[in-house]
Each structure stands twice: as C-alpha cells, then as structure tokens.
C-alpha cells in the first residue's frame, strides 16, 4: 500500500462550480503525471485520488475527511469558493493534513494547515484600483463596485472602499451593488452603471461578480453599448475560461487583474500551455490563474517534501516556508511565513480573441497580505507560522497570539 | 356481433368475474342485471378494454379483441358510457362531444342532429365546462358523446342513473331507434328494472361474478329469476 504517495484532489466535478473547478482537477492530474514522468517523489509514484464534492459545502467536509482518513493522502489540492474552504478547514486542522487553495479570496485567514496560492486582496484588488487611478488607466474618479452577494466581494469591496476613501474619493462617487449567485438579468444593473457613469467624471466598474453570472453581465454590457473607453470594467473573477463562453469583440478593452494570463510570453508558460493542450487533447482549451496557482503550489509541495524527506504533514508544513519555485510569468514565487505566496500582479485588457493583453505589471513581486491593512480589526494582526511564533493571528499591539483579544 | 367467452378477471387477489360468457347481437338490446358488486361494471370495462381479462376472451365481429387496446376497440366501433359518467370536466360540452371525432373520417366529423334532439339541454350549454353541469346533465353528455362516435356496439353502464324521468323515456326511445334504424348492438347494464323490461331483447343476470341466467326480457317476471335481484 505504501508504494505510492497519494495526493487528494478536491474539486467539484458536478453542480454549479463544476464549470470552474473541473479544469483544476485536470490541471492537477497533468502536474502529477509530469512529476511521475520525472520519476515521482522520494522514489515513489504519485497517485491522484479524485473525488467529487459536487458543489455541496458539507460534502466538501465529508470528502476531505474521506481523503485524509480513508485514502491517507499526503496533501490535498482543492476548493474554489471560500465557503468550501471554510467547510473543510476544521477537518484539515483536526486530522492535520495540508490543503493547497488556488483561488483569489478575501483574505482574513491564515491557517497552519492551509497554503494559499491564490491572490489575497492586496495582490489583486488594490493594484487593480491603483492602475485605474493612474494616468494610463484613465484617471478614474468615480467607482462602481459591482459584486455577487457573498463574502469575497463583500470583503474585497469593504477593503476597496476604505482604500479609495483613503485616496480622497468621496462617498457619493462610490456605488456598491450586489446581485445573487447565477444572476442572469442584468438590464437594470447595467443601466444603473450607465447612469452613474454619466455624471461627468471618469467612471470605472470594479467587478467581483462571480462565475456564471459574468457571461450574461458582459453580454448585457456589450448590447447596451458600454465601451471600455468610456466605462471600463475591471474584474477579479473573470479569466480566460469565462471569456471562452463569450464573443469578446464588443468587450475589447475591459480589464481583469490577475497574477497570470495565458498570453504571458515566457518560455515556462509556452511549455505549460503546450503540455496542457497535449494532456487535455484540445488545442482550444485555455489556461488561467488558478491553474498557475496549482502549478506553483504543487511544485512547492514537491520541493518541500524533498526538503523534508518525508510526506509527513507536520514536517512538510515546516519545510514549505521559504520554498521558492518558478512561476509562469518569468519569476519566482516564494512561500511566506504567513502561508501566502509572492506573486506579480498583472492588469490585462480583453482582446477580440478571448485573451488578455497585459497593460500593466507590478515592478516586483507582491507578498500576500492575509490581514488587510485597510480593515480596522485586522490591521494589527500578522501571521507567522515559523517557530517560535507559530501563530496565524498575532497581534502586534498586544503582543499576543489570538487576535485582538481584549482579555 | 360481440361475444364474451369464459371471462375471468381479478383485482389483485380478488376475483370479480368467474367464467362469464355473453353474446350481444347486432340489432338487439342485451341487458345485464344484478345486485351491487356482482361484477357488471367489471364485465363492461373488460369488454371496452379498461381491464385485461385474467383468462377468457372477447370477440367483436368475429375478431378477437383480447390484445387490442381500448382505443383500437373504440375505433372498431365500440362506444362506452361508463358508470360515473367520466366526462372530461375541463372541456366544454362541445369539446366533450368533439372528443368522439377521433375514430371518424374527416367528413364525418360532426355532431349528429339526433344527439341534440335527444338532449336539448346540451345544445343550450355547448360552451359550459362539462364539470360544471349537474349530475344528470353530465350523464346526458356522456351518452351524447358516445353517440357522436357512430358506434356499432354501444355499451351503457347504468345510463339512466340520475336522469329525470322524461329523459329516461327519451333515452329508451333513442336506444330503440338506434337498434332499429342503425341496426347497432346495445349492451345495457341496468338496475332500473322497468326500463330494462321494456327495452331488452335478452337479459343476463349476474351474481357473484357469474352469469346465472340468460333469457328473454319476460323472464324478469319469474320468481326464480327475481331472487337474484333481491337483497
């Protein structure tokens, strides 16, 4: 039984999230294949254990437990939505295993058993807004924060609001609106954006609209004739995969902020795309940011396991910090003590061919900030999982681990 | 014309018909009588194809019907007026009548005038929903609907139930007319003895799922026959 090292893959293959998560399962299978072709890990073959949590949050917890207790996996790569991550967290800490979480999220979390390879708000939202405020970005003065009504957009928008106000934006120049999951009739919202944008100030939309709702949103934008030159939309959840379902000609110029674009022109990325096409047997399939996050996360884990010489989670967790691997945009990403990684931030404009073209890139790498500096209750918190601190919510003011702690 | 031989029928484990044989000839009115629950309705429903016989057979115009579906039986010329009326409640009276067009050729798709002569109330209420009619009106509609199909065999299960006396008389006249003019066969289940006696060419009496007597209408006056109808 011990001649292989098992790796759990916990992504929804059915239900509402299958549309996004299935790709990540395939990406993981590809990475594991490649590693095995290189001779495996610690002299053993890697074996993927795929389960389907079916976009059902309690089922995520159940399946996580199954992977760890029954299948005895060495680490799990999985989850997309924050709620699925929240659902499995207690399982990972109880059974002491490792989760790699590859999606941009709202932050405000740092767990010993989780490595966050997606972007924290400061690795996506803040640079995106900075770009829009810049001359190149159009010197935006008026902001629509349009999101799906759940925690990630709410928190991101809260951070952004605080940030924008700190930059002197007036409250009446910020409009926030939320729509339900899977929302499909955007007429009213798009016309409200149009209206808000006609106040004589340069206006932009910052969209945290999630998943399925994006396609009808962009279709409506196109049909109501909102052009990127007039009111650009900057999205945090729209990647190449989402654009694949759209005719992007009317959307040229709308933006997205990520840490990776398929169009990035580096040898690593070229190779990654070629491998992906070969693996998935379809030259049209796109790559996207969460795939890169898994690429980074997986390589980090491999390196940490090699460093620790064992797959024992406790040892691997300690070995992870400081591990540095190449990312696909031509640099190195490093695992920080707060279990978040360093990444470049790219701003891209949508092109007619469904790809993004990078129009701005942060000069260096940005370190993921788990506790936002723009929220009053978290600005004093830091996370550092190295001994002797080994704390996910250390309060620098009180000098104590365990949050704000009035006691 | 219609020949039932040795029919048995079960409802689950319960037997409703036990070896029933019966003939109904063209141009004749054949009556079936019997107390409540002896199997009259079960027999009629087996003939029109609502129930599948456990054993035995039904033949119509010499052809065995046992494997044919209810709609094929209807198409071959059997019309049914069920006990309990079973009109289509949400269809209007007109639509209820027109539902009988299905087996007809396009040219024949009209409601014969004698239907409205027989049941003038239907003409007044053509636009009303069938389910809104009074019980007796529904019964008239059920008979009218069967006549629209121009059947060769008319199966009537207690057709006079709930109908006012004057119209019962009309129905009697109509049945006789259909027999004499159109030469169709009529199979009639009745509880209303006088009606039967007046109309029937032949009576069959059922008891406990069997036919216990067959003979001319006059037999109904015999005491040994009547005992099957008393409580």
């Amino acid at each position: 039984a011990d001649d292989t090292i098992k790796v759990g893959i916990l992504h929804s293959l059915s239900g509402t999230m299958a549309i996004s998560e299935t790709t990540l399962k395939d990406a993981m299978l590809m990475l594991i294949d490649e590693q095995n072709a290189k001779g495996g890990l610690l002299g053993k073959k890697l074996e993927a254990v795929v389960v389907d949590p079916a976009s059902n949050w309690p089922l995520f917890a159940e399946k996580a437990r199954e992977l760890i207790s029954k299948d005895k996996v060495a680490a799990v790569f999985g989850c997309w939505t924050s709620v699925s991550r929240k659902s499995v967290l207690p399982v990972f800490s109880e059974l002491d295993n490792i989760l790699f979480y590859p999606v941009q999220y709202e932050g405000e979390e740092s767990e010993r058993n989780v490595f966050y390879t997606g972007a924290a708000p400061n690795q996506q939202a803040i640079p995106a807004v900075d770009y829009l405020m810049s001359k190149d970005g159009g010197s935006v003065k008026r902001w629509v924060l349009e999101g799906t009504d759940y925690v990630y957009p709410r928190t991101t928008n809260k951070i952004l609001e605080a940030y924008l106000k700190s930059k002197g934006v007036a409250a009446e120049d910020i409009m926030t609106n939320y729509t339900p999951f899977g929302f499909s009739d955007w007429q009213t919202e798009v016309s409200a954006i149009k209206k808000f944008g006609s106040a004589g100030k340069k206006t932009a939309v910052v969209s945290t609209v999630n998943g399925d709702a994006n396609v009808p949103f962009y279709k409506e934008l196109g049909n109501q004739g909102i052009k990127a030159e007039d009111i650009p939309v900057m999205a945090f959840s729209v990647g190449e995969e989402e654009l694949a379902g759209l005719d992007t000609k009317p959307l040229v110029g709308h933006l997205a902020a990520w840490n990776y674009f398929e169009s990035v022109n580096t040898p690593e990325n070229k190779k990654f795309i070629a491998n992906w096409h070969k693996f998935i047997k379809n030259n049209k399939r796109t790559t996207n940011d969460p795939m890169e996050a898994h690429y980074i996360g997986f390589n980090m884990w491999v390196k940490a396991v090699e460093k620790a010489g064992t797959t024992d989670p406790d040892k691997v967790i300690d070995a992870m910090i400081g591990v540095s691997v190449p990312n696909l945009t031509g640099g190195y990403s490093t695992m920080m003590p707060n279990h978040h990684i360093t990444k470049p931030v790219l701003i891209g404009e949508i092109q007619a061919n469904g790809q993004f073209e990078t129009v701005s890139k942060t000069p260096g790498l940005v370190m993921g900030d788990e506790w936002s500096d723009y929220l009053p209750d978290s600005k004093d918190l830091i996370s550092d999982w190295r001994a002797p601190l080994s704390c996910g919510n250390f309060n620098v003011k009180t000098g104590k681990c365990g949050g704000k702690g009035t006691n | 014309m219609l020949e039932v031989s040795n029919a048995t029928l079960h409802y689950g484990a319960a037997q409703a018909l036990r070896g029933v044989s019966l003939k109904a000839g063209a141009g004749k009115i054949t009556c079936v009588l019997g107390r409540n629950g002896v199997g009259k309705t079960s027999l009629m429903r087996s003939i029109v194809g609502h129930h599948r016989l456990t054993s035995g057979s039904v033949a119509f115009e010499g052809k065995a019907l046992d494997r044919s579906a209810a709609y094929d039986r209807a198409r071959s010329g059997i019309a049914f007026v069920p006990q309990g009326r079973e009109i289509f409640p949400l269809l209007t009276v007109r639509e209820n009548l027109e539902s009988g067009f299905a087996p007809l050729k396009r040219a024949d798709r009209n409601v014969p005038a004698h239907v409205f002569e027989l049941f003038p109330v239907l003409k007044q209420m053509l636009g009303r929903r069938g389910g809104d009619l009074s019980g007796g009106q529904q019964q008239q509609l059920a008979i009218g609907r069967a006549l629209v199909m121009r059947p060769k065999l008319l199966v009537l299960d207690e057709p006079t139930e709930g109908i006012q006396p004057s119209i019962i008389k009309d129905i009697g006249r109509a049945i006789r007319f259909l027999r004499d003019q159109a030469g169709i066969a009529v199979l009639l289940v009745e509880q209303y003895l006088d009606f039967c006696r007046e109309l029937a060419d032949e009576v069959n009496i059922m008891d406990r799922g069997q036919i216990v007597h067959t003979g001319p209408a006059e037999d109904l006056d015999r005491a040994d026959v009547r005992k099957f109808l008393t409580v």
Partner: protein, 538 residues
C-alpha cells in the same frame, strides 16, 4: 492625459490651416515607421499625435487599425502593416493604400499594443477627421464623439460642417456638438445660455453629464441655467426611467415566458412534474452552439442565419429526447404523477452529466448574429435588439401554441387524454401517441427556448437548473393548465421584479417577489387565472 488633449488641439489647428491635400505620402510613411520603435503606451501616443497632426484623412486607416489592435510590425524589416488574422497566417496590407502586401506567420510579426486611453484618444481624433465623411453614419459618430469630448477648437470646423450639412438630423447633432464646444470656450455668457438651452433640449443622459461638468466649472447665470436644465432633464428622465423599467420588465417577462412555456405543456397540461425541463432548454442551447460551430468552420457566411437554422434543429433534438423520455420512462407513470418528479429528476441528472461529458464543463461560446446585437433608442428608451427579438419570438411561440391547444383536434385530444386517459382511449383517441407527441411538443418548445436563451445567458451544463424554479413559479403563479395564465404570470413577475430592483436591489427585490407570490397564492389559491366552478373543485 494632457498629451492627448494637446494632440486634439494641434490637430484641429492644423486641420483649419493646412490644405486638404495634406502632407506628402512619404512624410506620413516616415511617421508611421516610428511605430516600430515604440516601447510603451506614451510613446505610441506620441506617434499617434504626430500622425493626426498631419490632418491628412489618409491617417484614418492606420489609426483605426491601431485602435482595433490590427497594426503590426514585421520583425524582419521593421515595416508597419495593417494585419487581418486569417486561419493560419496574418494577411498584411499597406497601412496607407490598403493594398495587400502578402502574409506573415504570427511569430514573424508583433502587434502594436494599445490600451483604453489610447483607443479613446484615437477615437476622438478620428472624430474630427471624419467630420466631412460621405457616410452620414460616420458623420453622426463624429458629432457624437465631439459632443462627448467638447473642445473650444471644435467650434470652427463644426461651423463649417454645419453649413455644408444637408441631412437635418445630422445637422441637429452637429449643432449640439457645437453648443457643447461653446460651453468650454470663452464665448460670452449669452452664447453659452443659448448653448445650454440647445443641449437641454436633447434631454438625455449625455446632456446631463455635460451640463454637470459645466455646472461645476461655471458661475453666475450660466451655472444657474445649467442647474435648471439638469433639473428639467432629470424630471423627464424620471418619466422615461419608469418606461425603461417597464421595458426591462417586459423583456425579463419574455425570457420567463419562453423558459416556462414548454413546462406549461409538460407540467401544466400533462401533469408531469418535469424536473428535466431545464435540461431540454439546455439541449436547445447546445444545439445552437453546435450549429454555430459548424457554420463557423464550414460556412462562415451563414453566421447571421445561425439562429434561424438552429431553431428547427433545436426543436427536433429536444423533442426527440423528450419523446425518448416519454416512451422510456414517463408512460409507465401515468396515474402516478408524483413519481414523475423522482424519475425526471433522475433523467435531468443524467442529461446534465451527459452534456458535461460530451462538451466539457465549461461555458461554450454562442455568438449573437448582427441583427441580435446592439441597441436602438426610442426617445430616451434604450432597447436592445436581442431582447426585442426574444420578446417577438416568445409571443410568436405563445400564439402558435395557443392555436394548437385550442383550435386543433390534437389540442383537444391532448386535453382529453390528460383529463382522463382511460376514458379518452374509449373515445378512440390513441392515447400513447397523444402522450408521446404532447411531451415531445413541450420538450421541443423548451428546446427552442434554449436557442433564445443562448443569446443572453451561459451555455453550460448548468443552464437548465437556473430556469427550472422560475419556470415552475410562473406556471403555477399563472394557474396550472392555463396558457394565458403562464403569459400573464411571466410578464407580471418580470415587471414587478424590474420595478423593485432599482429600489431594493436585485437580491432583496427577488426576495420581495417571492414573498409576494406566497401572499398572492393565499388570495388566489389556484393561481392568477384560476379555473372556477365545480369542474375544478376537489
């Protein structure tokens, strides 16, 4: 930003001073060649500025190509070309003459990148350049651009254009653009007041937008006039807003109607609790995708016809699957309607997964044909073509269905069979046929709804799930078994929803609608168009 402003100014100055023949072609080529050496957006901007400064209408071609991202540099010789992406290679054209200049593979050329700011600058610049175009739609676009980016320097060219303009509607637009420019000039207040009056008469949001910035920068009478004009426009706009909400409601209603109408047959008429209804809609959408895919690869010229071709196919595909479901499963369940819920739920899981296995889990791209794209205005109402067509389509489907149900023998038989299958058979109606065809009809209609919905929503395996609940709501709210109920139900839910949304937001709005449905059903326990009388009483 400043650089672009300056650019526009220079350009206009030049336009008026230089002769129309413009600079020599060689000079233009020299400027264009500079694109080969730019390293960032501001350098590209500088080249653009230089080009527009020539005032030569010939620069329109390279600039338009640049804005669209079609300007390339051939790596080998640093020559600049307009490119058109073909199947394999990029076809190259001369940037000035437009003559074909061979092909190049993608690896041999580099695209000159642009961003929104550059695109905007080019659009503004082209606006003035194209003021004299022969094509009135181009002149309208130019006037529109100049209205939105007013500049004192525009006044003179606009004056000239107004004099020579022959089309009345274009002339009016040019005058408004001129008025906008006057407002940012140092003309006397009297001129500005007249300009405000003219702009105020436009009555739209662009006018408000312009006047708002005037209001912020001006003082005295001009400011007051602007304030008054804004208030005036806003009050008429409020009226138009209500109209706009009604339109949104109607168009949402038409989507609900389309989604629900097939269910009004399979559920409303036949009584099958058809949980696989959404999947029929999905099949229609995927049929559209496949049709477009074939057209894209084999008959690109037919793209505008793709939906027309997809409609009958979607109907057939969904109807066929419906037929198979009816014959394979549902026919065993008549008389046990509750169990249809269980079986069709199972079928829907299977269909979803089948589509996921065949087409993959991700969204598929279904394009809008040109006649379904964009919008037009009626007064201040913006009406998008796709919504309008969907409305027309939904009403047509409804009309046809109503005719079938009420006026054809088939419709009568359908209703008879579902009322009492056994008795219908005894009337000579071939019940299995009627059942199978009715279910196929309902499914087929769901399929063509999928064609329409593919135009506004995701085409993914989850497509159907998004509509199933709304569809049941509509059918039940309207009154089961009543097609008119479905129609009125769909539109009233659509309109109520869209009236609530601007005030309550989409989430609360939807909650309120659901609560209203619950309350409404208390008042009318059998839906909007309840059948009355003993025929229906239990």
């Amino acid at each position: 930003m400043k650089i672009f402003h300056a650019m526009g100014l220079t350009l206009l100055l030049l336009l008026t001073t230089l002769s129309p023949s413009g600079a020599a072609e060689a000079d233009l080529r020299a400027i264009i060649a500079k694109f080969a050496t730019v390293t960032d957006f501001s350098e590209t901007g500088a080249v653009v500025q230089e080009l527009t400064a020539t005032g030569d209408p010939a620069v329109e071609r390279p600039l338009a190509a640049l804005a669209e991202g079609n300007l390339y540099i051939r790596t080998a010789d640093s020559m600049v070309f307009v490119g058109k992406e073909g199947d394999e290679n990029v076809q190259l054209f001369d940037p000035l003459s437009g003559e074909a200049a061979g092909e190049a593979s993608e690896d041999d050329i580099t695209k000159i990148t642009v961003n929104n700011t550059l695109r905007r600058a080019i659009r503004d610049a082209l606006g003035t350049l194209t003021l004299g175009s022969k094509d009135p739609t181009v002149r309208i676009a130019a006037a529109d651009t100049m209205f939105k980016t007013p500049d004192a320097a525009n006044i003179e060219p606009l004056d000239a254009a107004i004099v020579s303009e022959t089309v009345a509607s274009v002339k009016a637009l040019l005058e408004q653009a001129r008025a906008a420019s006057i407002l940012v000039s140092d003309k006397p207040d009297a001129d500005k007041l007249a300009a405000i009056a003219l702009i105020g008469s436009r009555g739209d949001r662009d006018a408000v937008s312009l006047l708002t910035s005037v209001e912020a920068n001006a003082s005295g009478a001009v400011k007051d006039a602007a304030t008054a004009a804004i208030a005036n426009i806003n009050s008429t706009l409020a009226f138009w807003d209500a109209g706009q909400n009604i339109w949104y409601g109607i168009s949402l209603g038409s989507v609900l109607l389309l989604a629900a109408i097939g269910l009004a047959i399979t559920f409303g008429v036949m009584g099958v609790i058809n949980m696989a209804h959404g999947e029929m809609v999905m099949l229609g959408a995927y049929t559209t995708f496949v049709v477009q895919q074939v057209i894209r690869t084999s008959f690109p010229g037919l793209f505008d016809w793709s939906l027309v071709i997809a409609l009958p196919l979607a109907f057939l595909v969904a109807a066929f699957v419906g037929l198979a479901i009816e014959r394979g499963v549902i026919r065993f369940l008549y008389g046990r309607p509750l169990e249809t819920l269980l079986a069709t739920w199972g079928v829907s899981l299977i269909l979803q997964q089948a589509v996921r296995s065949i087409f993959g889990p991700t969204n598929q791209e279904v394009g809008n044909p040109s006649w379904m794209s964009g919008s037009f205005d009626i007064g201040q109402l913006a009406i998008t073509w796709n919504r309008l067509w969907i409305l027309v389509f939904a009403l047509t489907v409804f009309g046809v269905l109503l005719y079938v149900m009420k006026r054809t023998p088939w419709g009568l038989q359908m209703r008879a069979v579902t009322a009492n299958r056994r008795m219908a058979a005894s009337m000579g109606i071939r019940t299995p046929w009627v059942d199978a065809l009715t279910f196929a009809l309902g499914s087929g209609i769901a399929g063509i709804a999928g064609v329409a919905l593919s135009q506004i929503d995701n085409v993914s395996p989850n497509l159907g799930r998004g509509y199933i609940i709304d569809s049941f709501m509509v059918v039940v709210f309207g009154g089961v078994g009543n097609l008119w109920g479905t129609l009125v139900g769909a539109f009233s839910l659509g309109i109520v929803n869209k009236f609530l949304e601007p005030y309550a937001g989409a989430v609360l709005g939807k909650i309120v609608v659901l609560v209203l449905i619950i309350l409404f059903i208390q008042k009318r326990p059998r839906g909007l168009f309840a059948l009355k009388g003993r025929a229906v009483e239990a």
